[in-house]
Symmetry: C2
Subunit: 398 residues, 2 copies
């Protein structure tokens, strides 16, 4: 019998207890012995809770119990979660986590500590929620040189964009209903400013390109400045607006950024709506593959955390390494990346034609127009846009 502990009893923590209990028979068969909940670390009592007898407010109880082989950290943030993860690893316990902030910022160090102690540090749930993504990327595509990885990595912003697109609503209005439905937090900053997507992009880039990136250096633009006019014009141009995290292989590192993009309507990512996520991986042998599913939520995220608990249990004697990359990779400037661009402007057709010969503007209900440029880097784009006072500029996905 193997014991595991859950750190944190919020949405994901309670989901992990639930999913592990439901799957206990199947899991015991896969591991070869039962995997049983030993403790839940909580900040206060939950009288009457079915797991009340498993709860403790003292991490050292878990740390010192030699029967606990696996710790699931679902506290979030890089404070207590960081301290407990280090202590658990030092105590020779495997740690699994859905905490993208911690993995993005300290994951490489924690992984190194796990390697030294001969235990596992696994974090499938940190990117894409319940979508199987990191393990397929690192294992099933093991023989590929990964060239690019990009996708819709945040469900809250995708819900907002879907509502703006389908119902012509403003950003503020769509955000309010996301909050009312529990898809956005009271302080939605980390989601709507792209910070959450940026952390996930950093993790994907690390695993794909072998360099440990500082997520705080990745250029990140959220969706707060989008107007419903942009979604209307994008649609008229045969595109949908999606917030994408992207990372591409570059000499000695990669080019990574988070920006709202115009995605061609015929691309599968354009059909990913509501709170769903999807991630495209381009590999040297496989070509293009995509992984789609719920990127957040209690049971989907718990599904990923539980799978990591199972993996850690299966790999007690033979650790499963997930390499988060060595430090020092170059972060190539996104402004050098050539793309087509979408421009919204009130400029007159003659001015547009002078700067972008052959452009075909479409006109929206606001009277402004939108058009797509030919492929340009951002430096050249800025030069040409100078006389035009554009109201919005967005990158187009190739």
């Amino acid at each position: 019998m193997i014991k595991y502990a859950i750190l944190g009893y919020g949405t994901v923590g309670s989901g992990v207890a639930e999913v592990m209990a439901e799957g206990q028979e199947k899991i015991a068969a896969l591991v070869g012995e039962p995997v049983e909940l030993g403790y839940i670390l909580v900040r206060h009592d939950y009288p009457g809770d079915p797991y009340a007898d498993k709860m403790t407010t003292d991490f050292s109880v878990i740390e010192k119990d030699p029967e606990v082989a696996i710790v699931a950290e679902v506290i979030g943030g890089a404070g207590d979660a960081y301290a407990y993860t280090k202590r658990a690893l030092r105590a020779g316990k495997s740690v699994v986590s859905s905490n993208k902030e911690l993995v993005a910022v300290h994951g490489a160090d924690l992984n190194e500590l796990a390697r030294k102690k001969g235990v596992n540090y696994l974090f499938e749930g940190s990117v894409g929620g319940g979508i199987p993504l990191l393990r397929p990327l690192t294992q099933c595509l093991a023989a590929n040189r990964i060239d690019e990885v990009f996708g819709i990595l945040n469900g809250t912003t995708n819900y907002i964009l879907t509502a703006m697109d389908a119902e012509g609503r403003s950003f503020a209005d769509a955000l309010a209903s996301a909050q009312a439905l529990g898809y956005a937090e009271a302080d939605p900053t980390a989601d709507v400013e792209g910070i959450d997507a940026c952390r996930k992009t950093a993790i994907l880039a690390d695993l794909s390109f072998g360099y440990n990136l500082d997520p705080r250096k990745i250029p990140t633009q959220g969706i707060t400045k989008l107007e419903s006019a942009d979604l209307e014009l994008a649609r008229a141009l045969g595109h949908t607006v999606k917030l994408l995290g992207r990372a591409r292989r570059a000499e000695g590192g990669c080019c990574a950024f988070v920006e709202p993009h115009l995605v061609p309507a015929e691309h599968l990512l354009a059909s990913v709506s509501g709170v769903m996520n999807a991630c495209v991986v381009r590999g040297s042998a496989v070509g293009e593959v995509m992984f789609y599913g719920p990127g957040a939520g209690k049971r989907p995220t718990a599904s990923a955390v539980a799978a990591d608990i199972v993996q850690a249990a299966q790999h007690r004697t033979h650790r499963r390494d997930t390499d988060l990359g060595k430090p020092g990779g170059v972060l190539a400037p996104a402004d050098d990346l050539v793309s087509r661009w979408y421009v919204r402007t009130g400029a007159d057709p003659a001015a547009i034609e002078r700067a972008f010969p052959g452009a075909r503007p479409v006109y929206g209900s606001s009277g402004e127009c939108g058009f797509l440029t030919e492929p340009l880097d951002r430096h050249e784009l800025k030069k040409r846009l100078r006389p035009m006072h554009p109201a919005a500029v967005l990158r187009v996905l190739d």
Copy 2:
């Protein structure tokens, strides 16, 4: 250093040699030592081929070489491939395979033999080509009860259906261009009659539900009887025609079948076009996830086979089990499964209204009409259709 051998030097075999050579540095880092090509089993010489010095026409050379730890079987079929796989496993070598026929028919026995010998039998490439699918299904969704798995599992038929849909072409005409482009074989029976999709459905069902199904018992209907009128009417009804392999959990087994379906245009599967494949998995914790990518082809399939070689190399001392299910599962009759149905008929509106009150027929260029029924099982459907002489009947995906 670990040696591997490739059995067969067709499209996939040469791809495996190529992809393993390209990825050798990364693979050596993942495994902890180099993984090197020892032999290629061929039927005749390839003078001047870069791997000519590795070739042998005698399987016993590979079988007897104790340095060969892993054998990649990419011969196809259940003749020589079956015999060699048994001999390799008995000789204590791990076997990896992209051979869906062999895995579907003899996989459970071969897996049992591998278990007895303490070696790996892995077959990621047998379903979905390069798409990471079987490993995510069995490992990343380990804590889920899988309720249903279904998808577009054959690229040839999807190419034909896409051509029929986009260009209004007949089946025969679209098949001819698939053959000209190398997407369909001279004898396309296994693809167009759904046999290939059926084998893959059997493998998915085995892994999902824990029972070993005989693929020859799975009701299988191909695309040869589809007419361009069906694609035209489906589109007018807001749907796309796709050949789906489906398997659903049922009491003591599952319900599995292969049939052309009408897929709602807003479902992601409707946007999967050309030779691409996609598979949806419904799990008790995760909800719905989808895996998309190239379901066949030299380098994509080689990507999956190479990943299995890497896994087998990583799990020499600690085998990676993939449970193909115990024998004896019930195959629940597909005719009992309630669905909406598409009907094409030349019957007059009054007759349609009598049998299917409230149906809303749409009329195509042929003068026939198509309509969707309410949810019914096939027994009830047949009863109501009796007076109507329908020209085509297809299941609708919920």
